[in-house]
Symmetry: C2
Subunit: 360 residues, 2 copies
């Protein structure tokens, strides 16, 4: 089969690297001819919402998927009428708007931090009073990697936040003093078969994922997270990989957001699970049997952000797996990641410290 | 770095799939624009010995390597003067001629079956008497996957064999009533660092590799095989992956042949070892630290020959890893392979039987 991927970033590249052994071929749509996917497939150059380019992509493949979330939902709905498109456009649309996402959690009975919609300055005052401070003001759309967010600690921050973000639809969320941030990655095939990876613990800095460790060894939480995830998968009659990010606060899970696609916190599955999230996404959208998601040990993933480390130094760390996306360095840009898999959590963490020193 | 690969077969494709995460880029030279490497890199179309095309490939990359052995050695020596080329052309040349190969084994003190060179009909009589029957008459050059061979069981077979193969330089080898066929895959970096994978047990049918299992759990044999392999690596000041195929006869190792490249009997290392032979080949030729070669369990690999099985059926076998090279089916052609990795040899062999049923 020929698979068309909207977006040719590192996620697209990793989907293709996992999909070629299954006998699949890949074509991408991206605004940049230099995007990582271009290393392993042809890129049709165009904006994600360009209907002509989307139609061209659709005409050259058997099924469409995406590696980015900021694909205009209307353009996708149009192309999805002409060609199989997975995950479903409705899931993509829900993930694009924090308000819809939160309401979805409520509808499905998934606990989520308190929130209020904020469309004008006065609503922000009401919302702050209702949600309580500290709180986080976020743009409803196009926020990722910590962009489009401002933390309100005291009422004095309200004006600052409004001046920074006001003018677009916003949402005010309760600031959760979480103990841990975790994610659960699940996959559902067009046949309805479902599988999930172990719960992963994530660390962010400035809103960008820095490191993930899995399995994070919290069986009752994992059981609950899995239940939440499956509600979302069933709700959308979903096919593909879906990620649910959650806070652990007071020992309880609160859903933060969904990513209706393969996810940075699942990169460790390439070497750390029997079947990677990328291969399982491909299997799922094609209706193939899902691959075994069991972990192969204790894994950790470190993102490479802004500047590339010296390759020789990283590869000298025993068992380190290096992933250079081939992107030009830029402050705050995800350029690659490194994974270690070890027989015990202690050995994993020791290797992780060694790796962190290489990236410092 | 840009790596030029002479040959764009499945081995070239797997080298590229392993090399992209290390941040490397790939260009191929192949006579077929449809060759598997073309899925993941550009193919320059031309014969392997075409000096102009080789020069074009060299001009577009930083270092050259190959995925086929039948590259004319003289053409390679020429291009290797202009651009780094690994493994060394001398190793490629030695692997192309069964006589040179056997003499190399003798020179390095590596036991090998009795042999005699055969250039005319009369020499074949002398050789048969000296080596004894049964024996195998082989063309010295361009034999692979069992082609260019004829078994002599009685003196009556001598004429038949001569009529089939006579006219090109030949070698008569003692027929070894082996208990097992094994291979050892090693890798040496341009820095001199050496690593090796566990001994692998191989099964052939009609001269074509059908299945491999590793580790094959024969520590004293592995120790000896490793010693032989390292003699060859040092002899050539080798960089890259090298495979030594051996017979186990009377509990003793006899070298059969070398393959100065990544090898079919090492495909299990993609999922079954911490670092695959493909990644280690790339690391080695670039002088990077070698990756950990330890196995992750008990692996088996089955070749898919002639016709593709039903993908759904194979993927339903728990833990099966599928590799479809994207080649058109043809009797006797290697179209793909399947690997299973299990915690015990028994579980591995059970999965293997399940897989074999899918391919039957």
């Amino acid at each position: 089969m020929r698979i068309g991927i909207i977006g040719a970033g590192q996620l697209g590249r990793m989907l293709a690297l996992a999909g070629y052994p299954l006998g699949q071929r890949f074509v991408f749509l991206d605004h940049s001819a230099d995007a990582p996917g271009g290393q392993v497939g042809q890129i049709i150059c165009g904006e994600f919402g360009d209907r002509e380019r989307l139609a061209e992509l659709a005409s050259r493949v058997d099924i469409l998927t995406y590696d980015v979330e900021n694909v205009p939902a209307e353009a996708v709905e149009e192309v999805a009428r002409a060609k199989p498109f997975q995950p479903p456009p409705a899931a993509l649309a829900a993930g694009q708007d924090r308000l819809h996402e939160k309401r979805l959690f409520e509808r499905l009975g998934i606990p989520t931090p308190e929130f209020r919609t904020v469309d004008d300055r006065m609503q922000l005052d009401f919302a702050s009073a209702a949600v309580g401070l500290p709180a986080v003001l976020k743009t409803r759309r196009l926020g990722y990697d910590g962009r489009g967010q401002h933390v309100l600690r005291t009422t004095a921050d309200i004006d600052v936040a409004w001046n920074k973000l006001g003018g677009v639809p916003l949402i005010l969320e309760q600031f959760v003093p979480f103990e841990r941030e975790v994610s659960i990655i699940g996959v559902r095939s067009t046949t309805g078969e479902v599988a999930h990876y172990p719960l992963t613990e994530n660390t962010h800095a400035d809103g960008i994922l820095v490191r993930s460790r899995a399995p994070c060894d919290a069986p009752p939480l994992e059981h609950t997270a899995r239940d939440y995830l499956e509600r979302i998968l069933r709700h959308f009659d979903y096919a593909g990989v879906l990620t649910l990010e959650l806070f652990v606060a007071g020992g309880r899970l609160l859903a933060n957001e969904i990513a209706p696609r393969v996810h940075n916190s699942g990169h460790w599955t390439i070497e750390g699970a029997i079947t990677s999230q990328f291969e399982n996404h491909v299997r799922a959208i094609l209706g193939l049997p899902l691959g075994d998601t069991r972990p192969l040990g204790h894994s950790a993933m470190l993102n490479i952000i802004g500047t590339m480390p010296k390759l020789e130094r990283v590869l000298r760390v025993r068992g380190a797996h290096y992933h250079d996306y081939g992107k030009s360095p830029r402050p705050g840009r995800k350029l690659g990641h490194v994974t270690v898999v070890a027989p015990t959590p202690e050995q994993r963490d020791a290797a992780l410290e060694e790796l962190a020193a290489c990236l410092a």
